[in-house]
């Protein structure tokens, strides 16, 4: 690949600029918002937009997957985390600089900031060099970085700033305040200050040093400034040189590095989440993306639910699935509260995370490429009922069913619950037929067992009940049936006819 030092993105090989997706419903329907919000707590709001930017080709997916593989490794991960922490420190320095009024302090703070910035990159380069990078994206970045640090670059600048700061810190002077005047002379006292030594002797214990009384104000105060002016008179060549260095490096930041700084958070945020979840006992795996093999997953779970359960301690049930030869749609039926929606969501999350290049919440998975994800969840809290609700559902459904939405992954959760059974069956069948016809794959959660029949590409899945009639949250292939969900509850409270006869 041709290296263009000014045009590089760690998110896609062509360094395309992008517009983040509009607010697409699937983020909310699949509870991805919960996952993203959790990551935002640590990584800031800015990162959110990168999750709205999906790869447009299998090549882009592969590019990201390779980068993520590098970044999730311990060495690179630790390197980048400490790098982002260094950058956050530099942001604080930048903010401080804005408060300064006195020019010489502004120069010094600027030099301190430049020095910290160059050092952050020096360290990044050194550690990435030793990390054994594999991905095209990261290797390209490293070589760009080496050029920038190279002759006449950041490395030299860093050394110069270090020298300036060292000289500032080595400057000592004596202030005498007497008779309403303060005088300053360069030099040092003998010992640690006679008065402090006397205190220490008399108190018989170590005492703390006198603090700068002006410490509360981060900028230079009047007295400090007056002293500084005397020092500048006494050391003119040093302070002039300092000023020149600052002026010459006013535009020290490189655009290509800035872009990397922003984009790398995309990978780091997910890698951090994955590490936290793994240490809480949840498994992740790198998905295969082999179009020639069946799409399937083992031990798939709902990541958002798992996140919530880390604190609640509730068990999260994992499921397996497989789209067999020629199978394109799951129709999922079963009792209420039986885990249907959770399973549908986990399927959608799987596709999304695999497309984004991340590891997926499953023991293993093979996920095909889809140009888009489409979801339709019934709005449960909607005040609309009857005709109004059906209308609202159909209004949302219509744009999903336009002819240009080909080959997408579709998650539908409970359509047409308020329509007449006869109507609902017909509409449902039509929806399925439409999506299958456009080459889509997906899952359709429904109460209508009839939908699972009559199409060779449709597979019937059922949420199962245990022997005690209590939901197991396991999803398996099976013939759809109308399950009496009340029976479990009735049993639990011993209110069947026989039980009541016994008790009464």
């Amino acid at each position: 690949m041709i290296k263009d030092a000014n045009n590089f993105s760690i998110l896609n090989p062509g360094a395309r600029e992008f517009e983040p997706l509009e607010a697409v419903p699937f983020y909310q329907d699949l509870n991805l918002d919960q996952v993203i919000n959790k990551m935002m707590l640590r990584w800031g709001k800015e990162m959110k937009k990168y999750y709205r930017y999906m790869p447009t080709s299998p090549e882009e997916v592969a590019y990201r997957r390779a980068v993520y593989r590098d970044i999730k490794s311990d060495k690179v991960y630790d390197t980048l985390v400490s790098f982002t922490e260094n950058l956050a420190g530099i942001d604080l320095l930048r903010a401080e600089k804005e408060k300064v009024r006195i020019p010489m302090q502004k120069y010094v703070w600027f030099i301190r900031e430049v020095g910290a910035y160059c050092e952050a990159y020096e360290e990044l380069e050194k550690r990435l060099d030793e990390a054994g990078l594999e991905s095209e994206g990261m290797k390209t970045f490293l070589s760009i970085l080496k050029d920038i640090l190279g002759s006449g670059g950041y490395r030299e600048l860093a050394a110069r700033t270090r020298d300036i700061m060292a000289q500032i810190k080595s400057m000592r002077f004596i202030i005498t305040y007497d008779k309403d005047r303060m005088s300053v002379e360069l030099g040092e006292l003998e010992g640690e200050g006679a008065y402090e030594e006397m205190l220490e002797r008399e108190c018989g214990k170590e005492i703390r040093h006198l603090q700068n009384p002006f410490i509360a104000d981060p900028t230079i105060t009047g007295i400090e400034n007056s002293c500084l002016e005397i020092l500048m008179k006494k050391r003119p060549e040093f302070f002039d040189g300092l000023k020149k260095t600052a002026e010459l490096n006013a535009g020290y930041e490189k655009k290509v590095l800035k872009r990397f700084e922003n984009e790398v958070v995309y990978y780091l945020s997910f890698a951090t989440l994955q590490r936290e979840m793994e240490s809480a006992g949840y498994r992740f795996s790198e998905p295969e993306c082999d179009e020639t093999k069946k799409m399937e997953a083992k031990g798939l779970y709902d990541l958002a639910l798992a996140l919530a359960s880390v604190s609640s301690g509730k068990e999260v049930v994992a499921n397996d699935f497989c789209y067999g030869e020629g199978e394109r749609f799951f129709v999922l039926t079963g009792p209420n509260q039986g885990g249907k929606t959770t399973f549908a969501r986990s399927l959608g999350q799987l596709v999304f995370l695999a497309l984004m290049g991340f590891d997926v919440p499953a023991e293993s998975a093979n996920v095909h490429f889809f140009p888009a994800i489409q979801t339709h969840f019934s709005v449960e809290e909607s005040v609309e009922t009857g005709k109004g609700k059906l209308k609202e559902e159909l209004t949302r459904l219509a744009p999903m069913m336009e002819d240009n939405q080909k080959d997408t992954f579709v998650v539908i959760n409970e359509l047409f619950t308020t329509a007449a059974n006869y109507d609902a069956q017909i509409m449902g069948r039509n929806v399925l037929k439409h999506f299958i016809g456009l080459g889509c794959m997906g899952i359709y959660v429904t109460h209508l067992k009839e939908l699972s029949e009559g199409h060779e590409s449709v597979v019937s899945l059922r949420a199962t009940l245990g022997d005690d009639m209590i939901p197991t949250f396991r999803i398996a292939r099976g013939e759809a049936s109308d399950v009496a969900c009340a029976e479990a509850v009735v049993n639990k409270y011993r209110l069947t006819y026989e039980q009541l006869k016994e008790r009464l």
């Binding site: 005498t176 005088s183 200050g193 603090q211 400090e224």
Partner: protein
């Protein structure tokens, strides 16, 4: 710096107070005793010239200390010895107590205890107050050292001697000099702030020398303080000729700038002065940290001893004086001419004492006609016991008793008219509280208990409760009209050669004269009822 005058090894009162201290105070009338101890008698030529108004703090302290019993002879002796020292060095104890009170009062005036309010106030005001507090401490501690070292002070008790030694170590002359010298060095900060300084033609100005470096923001860093001092100079009006001349002379210092001409610089000069002074004040405050609660503790503990001294004077005023009790086995009780102190204090008369000697008795039942001094007898023991157990002297020629960390009183309160309904219920409820709390070393004083019901019923209740408590090891003294009860116990024990029950009554000579000696006496079957009948109705057939 620990005071340790109440206990050899602790500053605060033990947490174990008497159960239901309020009842003990009420039933034994101890309020009068607290009050008496809080009043100073002023003598002139051996006569009481006047009585000072009571000191509330001493009253409160006496109450607290007296309601917290000691549990060992050693502890009692420790306080008795200090009381002897206090009596011999009354002026020392009084001065210590008064100095502490004065320090605390001034300190409160400077904002102690109003921390929140002070914290919101101007930091300069706060620092100025801190400096005043330091002056107050150094001066007061100096006075205390002088008092303790005075020639006419002779201390022999372990507690007082130890306190003096520890104090002289904690606040040596050298320490005082150091504190005073630093306070003098920073006097520029406060001198002139008092009204009295105004009008004096003199100002105090600082001289400060320090080394500094620069941190990476060009601000001062790693300061080293070389010199701080205060120096008085003549005050010249700004703008006057002399002022200008002095300013000109001063301005010839090379590489210097004025700290008064530029308002920004002069404001910050104040911050610098504040910073350095508060730094030094913080260090001095750390030096005084061990004295932060010292004045509270010393005031509290000397209040008890001053109270004891004043109580002793009150007792002497009433009559023959007092003695320090001694501790013996819990089953024995022996005293000579024991007087009911509260009654004496209340009536300002010398009351007549009782003498008694009991060996290996667990239950003492006092019966006899009214007006025989039964209740007074019981109370005098209760009062003496409480006084002994906090280290105080008692009003008797001698007094020897065991230590009872748990004293319970159960007096029938005839005066509680509001309790007319369900009085037996109330009595039994109180008894229930006592039963829940008895334990090792319990002494129960019963005065006309269970008299709120019929004699027969009351006797049954009393027999059951008292037998059970006695078997549980509780030492019981009861004054009772429940003759069935007393007779029943008497019948059970009269055959035995050795008995742990004693029956007492106030001795009367045949002519009816009282000897105020408690003598062994078989309980009668009859009491005042028949007498009363006879008195009011007339003859009665037996």
């Amino acid at each position: 710096m620990k005071v340790c005058l109440l206990y050899k090894d602790r500053e605060r009162l033990n947490e174990e107070t008497y159960y239901d201290a309020a009842s003990i105070i009420k039933d034994l009338g101890l309020k009068h005793l607290f009050l008496a101890s809080a009043k100073r008698l002023i003598f002139e030529n051996g006569e009481v010239k006047s009585v000072e108004k009571e000191d509330q703090y001493i009253m409160e302290t006496m109450r607290g200390v007296m309601m917290t019993p000691l549990s060992a002879w050693d502890e009692i002796r420790f306080r008795q010895e200090i009381i002897k020292d206090s009596v011999a060095n009354e002026e020392l104890i009084r001065s210590l107590y008064l100095i502490c009170g004065e320090v605390l009062r001034k300190w409160n005036g400077l904002g102690r205890g109003a921390r929140e309010k002070i914290n919101q106030s101007n930091p300069v005001t706060r620092l100025t107050a801190d400096i005043k507090v330091l002056h107050l401490f150094v001066e007061s501690l100096g006075r205390i050292r002088e008092l303790l070292q005075a020639e006419d002070v002779k201390l022999s008790s372990e507690g007082m001697v130890h306190f003096r030694d520890e104090f002289l170590k904690a606040f040596s002359e050298k320490r005082q000099e150091f504190m005073e010298s630093v306070l003098a060095d920073i006097s520029f900060y406060t001198d002139g702030s008092d009204e009295e300084d105004e009008g004096r033609n003199r100002v105090v100005r600082p001289r400060i020398v320090m080394e500094s470096g620069l941190e990476d923001g060009l601000k001062f860093s790693s300061l080293k303080l070389e010199e701080v001092s205060s120096r008085g100079e003549k005050f010249y009006k700004p703008g006057s000729a002399k002022y200008k001349i002095r300013e000109f002379v001063n301005s010839r210092v090379p590489d210097s700038f004025s700290t008064i001409n530029d308002s920004r610089v002069s404001d910050q000069t104040q911050i610098l002065e504040y910073g350095i002074v508060s730094y030094l004040v913080e260090e001095l405050k750390k030096e005084m940290e061990e004295f932060l609660t010292f004045f509270d503790r010393l005031r509290n503990q000397t209040a008890f001893y001053l109270g004891a001294v004043q109580l002793g004077a009150q007792m002497e005023r009433l009559g023959d004086g007092w003695c320090f009790p001694t501790v013996c086995d819990r089953r024995d009780l022996e005293f000579n001419d024991l007087k009911e102190l509260v009654m004496g204090l209340e009536r300002h008369v010398d009351v007549i004492g009782n003498t008694c000697s009991l060996k290996e008795k667990d239950l003492v039942i006092v019966t006899g006609a009214n007006q025989g001094g039964k209740s007074t007898f019981l109370r005098s023991i209760g009062i003496a016991q409480v006084m002994m157990q906090c280290g105080l002297m008692v009003m008797a020629r001698s007094y020897s008793a065991g230590i009872f960390p748990k004293i319970f009183v159960h007096f029938t309160r005839r005066e509680d008219s509001e309790m007319n309904s369900g009085r037996l219920d109330e009595e039994l409820k109180r008894m229930n509280g006592i039963v829940e709390n008895v334990g090792e070393g319990s002494l129960l004083l019963l005065n006309e208990s269970f008299a709120t019901t019929t004699e027969k019923e009351g006797s049954f209740i009393a027999y059951d409760i008292i037998s059970a408590l006695k078997e549980a090891g509780v030492r019981i003294l009861t004054v009772t009209h429940l003759l069935s009860f007393a007779r029943r116990v008497f019948e059970e024990t009269k055959e035995a050669s050795e008995t742990d029950v004693e029956f007492l009554t106030a001795e009367r000579k045949e002519d009816g004269r009282r000897t105020f000696r408690m003598i062994r006496h078989e309980p009668e079957l009859t009491s005042f009822g028949l007498d009363l009948y006879r008195e009011i109705v007339g003859e009665i057939d037996m």
